[in-house]
């Protein structure tokens, strides 16, 4: 009955393929044959969610278990969500069109703060009570993980348990616990208690936060004996031993990253001071060339994709990249498979490899410069110089590339007008370099795409204590940038500060932000990451309703001794290290890549981390 009803809805929505299921390689299991039915939710539309590597890894890991199954659900686009409400259809999984509320566990991935209202929308469409304390065994255990779980507090009221750090092992452990609890018939509360004792698992209902009069955190403690005071992140020490999908779903519709994605390494040791991923995914762990070649072969055979991406935070740092790229190209030349290398670091020795890639496709080159002057790049510890950029684009223009992307941030700590002018200066130099390239070598149609985003201070970075620029400051700077970026051959894009402002509120938010989130959702906020859906007015209304001042989270400088809402999490890097890095930042002192010498960030306390460094 439900299945037919859903079928009827598909005739009436914009992109029915989002809800169709039945793609090649999707896993269908008999629900009666397993003990735990897990549904994995990505709080954005299908084509975004299906592009996410981590979700694919977990889908595969769970389905490899005999006693469990994993199905998928994505956030229905507004047309579908509205139809589901008016036609009384609950949120359903793609594989078997089973109501999400009927599963034993619901896993949600937290990739960006602006997807938080979608999480509430998903719970509501699934008819799962919004608040953890109102759920019973008739509802799934709601678990969330991903980078944003490193500051889980703004979601504390809605999520039963957070899984912090690498998910490969933790996901299986949580399934074991829920399975045992269901078999033994213990209470849901007892199940949550047991989950809280797993490494890397945080059960917010078992902790209490109190606040000072000025709104800052006064204390944060477990409410029960035996619940750990510190939650230590999970870390997979050896990636070659970790599960990796050898078969992935091939969607019917085009998705954002429609290709094979192979994670060559995890973590990054460059120590950019604004980058949360670089801090929370430490240490660096690499997969072996043999393992990667084997995975690539299997995935090509299983999917028929025509493109492979080597992904990670910094693929250019992979030790054997030239060898790997070379062997991959050799292996798949006949099958006409293109190899693309994203997040290219221009100071990596990739020229040789690039020349080979170019045989297949000439994509645009991307340079994450992040700041306009060397001084500010030193502050943020971005180890790229103007010479690196110019020498790389010189080669690229001579090699027939004509499209370059430059990424910058504005609103960085210590930034002045001079730093903003530096952005225009760099863009101008790239343009001049193109015209200095002999005409017979360079390709036609120069395109320098320059984009500037607003800096958002994140937890577990050396800038976690820093205020974000106010919206007014951002707007001023943006006006200035627009003026100076009128350069022939350069296209300039910037990000609106309003979204970044909200991101800053959630990134460093505490439990009070949960009320704001719920109020915003009740006012109709969802898909805040989509500019056509985002309503800043509604958000401001939500803050007002809750009596919460957003500037307290976004624009306030924290003192060194302030108890931070995420301080109970041990993310590997210590608070002492982060503060040390902050001090160096203020003096524009760079810290070298720790592969050239350990900087004592704290990871060595973890078993199997940074061996031999």
């Amino acid at each position: 009955m439900l299945k037919e009803k859903i079928d009827g809805l598909l005739d009436r929505v914009q992109k029915p393929a989002r809800y169709m299921g039945g793609e090649m390689n999707c896993v269908l299991k008999d629900p009666d044959s397993v003990a735990i039915r897990y549904v994995f939710a990505f709080p954005d539309v299908y084509e975004v969610g299906m592009s996410h590597l981590g979700s694919r890894i977990l889908y595969d890991i769970i389905n490899k278990r005999e006693d469990a199954l994993c199905e998928r659900v994505f956030m229905p686009w507004v047309d579908m969500a509205d139809l589901m409400r008016s036609e009384d259809v609950p949120l359903f999984s793609l594989e078997t069109r089973t109501p999400v509320g009927d599963f034993d566990m619901l896993g949600i991935t937290l990739q960006y703060e602006m997807s938080y209202t979608n999480i509430l929308e998903i719970l509501n469409l699934a008819r799962i009570p919004m608040h953890s304390e109102d759920r019973t065994w008739d509802h799934p255990i709601v678990i969330a993980g991903g980078p944003c779980a490193f500051n889980p507090e703004p979601l504390h009221h809605f999520i039963d348990a957070f899984s912090i750090g690498d998910g490969e092992i933790s996901t299986l452990e949580t399934i074991d616990v829920v399975k045992a609890c269901k078999a033994e018939g213990v209470s849901r509360q007892e199940c949550l208690r047991r989950l809280s004792k797993l490494r890397g698992v945080y059960v917010p209902s078992l902790y209490e936060a109190t606040y000072h009069e000025d709104g800052t955190l006064a204390s944060f403690e477990p409410t029960e004996e035996g619940v750990p005071r510190t939650v230590v992140k999970n870390m997979v020490a050896d990636l070659d031993k970790a599960e990796y999908p050898e078969s992935i779903i091939v969607p019917f519709m085009e998705i954002v990253h429609d290709r094979i994605n192979i994670e060559v390494l995890r973590g990054c040791t460059r120590g950019c001071r604004f980058c949360q991923a670089g801090m929370i995914y430490r240490p660096v762990r690499e997969r072996s060339v043999e393992h990667l070649l084997d995975l690539a072969q299997k995935l090509v055979d299983e999917t028929g994709y025509e493109e492979i991406t080597l992904s990670s935070l910094s693929t250019g740092d992979y030790t054997c990249l030239p060898q790997l790229a070379h062997e991959l190209m050799e292996k798949f030349a006949e099958k006409r498979i293109a190899l693309s290398l994203p997040s290219l670091r221009l100071d990596s020795q990739l020229k040789e490899t690039l020349e080979e890639t170019q045989k297949v496709r000439k994509t645009s080159l991307t340079y994450a410069m992040e700041a306009g002057t060397q001084r500010l790049r030193d502050v943020i510890n971005k180890g790229i110089t103007e010479e690196d950029l110019i020498s790389s684009v010189t080669d690229a223009f001579a090699g027939g590339w004509s499209s370059v992307k430059l990424y910058f941030m504005f609103g960085l700590p210590t930034e002045t007008t001079e730093d903003l002018d530096g952005i225009a200066d760099l863009a101008g130099k790239v343009v001049r370099q193109y015209f200095a390239t002999p005409k017979n070598l360079r390709a036609k149609g120069l395109r320098v795409n320059c984009s500037a985003s607003c800096f958002v201070p994140k937890p577990f970075t050396p800038f976690q204590w820093e205020p974000q620029d106010t919206i007014e400051q951002f707007t001023e700077k943006q006006k200035h940038l627009c003026q100076i970026m009128r350069i022939k051959g350069v296209e300039f894009n910037w990000h609106e500060p309003h979204v970044s402002f909200l991101e800053a509120c959630f990134a460093r938010g505490d439990r009070k932000m949960a009320d704001v989130l719920e109020a915003a959702w009740r006012l109709g906020c969802r898909f805040d990451g989509w500019s056509d859906q985002f309503s800043f007015e509604k958000w401001m209304q939500a803050f007002e309703q809750c009596g919460v001042d957003p500037a307290f989270y976004a624009n306030r400088r924290r003192e060194k001794d302030e108890l931070l809402p995420w301080a109970f999490i041990d993310a590997g890097v210590t608070q002492a290290y982060l503060w040390r890095e902050r001090e160096r930042a203020m003096q524009a002192q760079v810290t070298p890549d720790c592969r050239k010498g350990c900087q004592g960030c704290g990871l060595k306390r973890f078993e199997g981390a940074c061996e031999g460094r």
């Binding site: 079928d7 169709m20 090649m24 019917f252 085009e254 299983e302 999917t303 028929g304 025509e306």
Partner: protein
């Protein structure tokens, strides 16, 4: 080789581009000796007999794919069904050489099964004889470029109905012209028929059941020319 495959109910919403991409990837996985085009970005040499619009399922859709090496029909059938989801299962393969007519050019007619339920179903099914007895049936034919009134009577080659009283359900079989200058869309046919009957069924499901060429004026499945 010519593949005859179904576009099943659950994938009926796939548009031409999605279907193309899916088939290309399946062909790449199949391990069959697929021919690629020459040039800067090589692609698989393949063409559908006709694009089936999004929302309509089909029982016997056809795809022509170039091969570079000898193989057998059984091998192709097995290989393709290993790499396609059941909703796009291949039911027949025919190996043909270059002299075989191009599917798109040989296509003359298409056959549809149209299932009507509820509402004015009975009236619509009962009106068919009268509808066909007309000399001329004028209808507004819309193409991307223009809208013209055309006589669609000449494009209807067969139209019959089996009505089931207990279910209030009628299954219509319609065979209509499918050539560039005179293609009759089943939606337009139903629109005219319902207007003639002065009745509207509650539900109307359209399904393409065959793609046909003409041999000595008689309809023959395109894969059997």
């Amino acid at each position: 080789m010519i593949l005859q495959f179904q576009k099943g109910d659950i994938v009926r919403h796939l548009g031409l581009l999605d279907l193309q991409r899916t088939m290309q990837r399946a062909l790449r996985r199949s391990g069959l000796p697929i021919a690629y085009s020459k040039g800067f970005s090589p692609h698989i040499v393949m063409s559908f007999a006709s694009a089936l619009s999004s929302g309509i399922p089909g029982d016997a859709e056809l795809l022509d794919v170039g091969l570079t090496d000898e193989t057998t029909e059984e091998a192709c059938l097995t290989a393709m069904n290993r790499v396609l989801p059941p909703s796009l299962a291949v039911s027949r393969v025919r190996l043909v050489d270059d002299r075989y007519p191009k599917l798109g050019a040989a296509l003359q007619q298409a056959q549809y099964r149209i299932t009507l339920r509820g509402g004015g179903t009975k009236a619509v099914a009962g009106a068919i004889d009268g509808f066909l007895a007309q000399q001329e049936i004028m209808a507004l034919r819309k193409t991307k470029k223009s809208e013209t009134m055309v006589n669609i009577r000449l494009m209807i080659h067969e139209l019959t109905a089996a009505y089931d009283e207990t279910q209030d359900c009628a299954v219509l079989t319609a065979r209509v012209s499918f050539v560039e200058a005179a293609t009759l869309k089943p939606e337009l046919l139903m629109e005219s028929l319902c207007a003639f009957a002065g009745a509207q069924p509650e539900r109307c499901e359209i399904r393409r059941t065959a793609l046909l060429g003409l041999v000595d004026g008689k309809p023959v499945p395109l894969i059997d020319l």
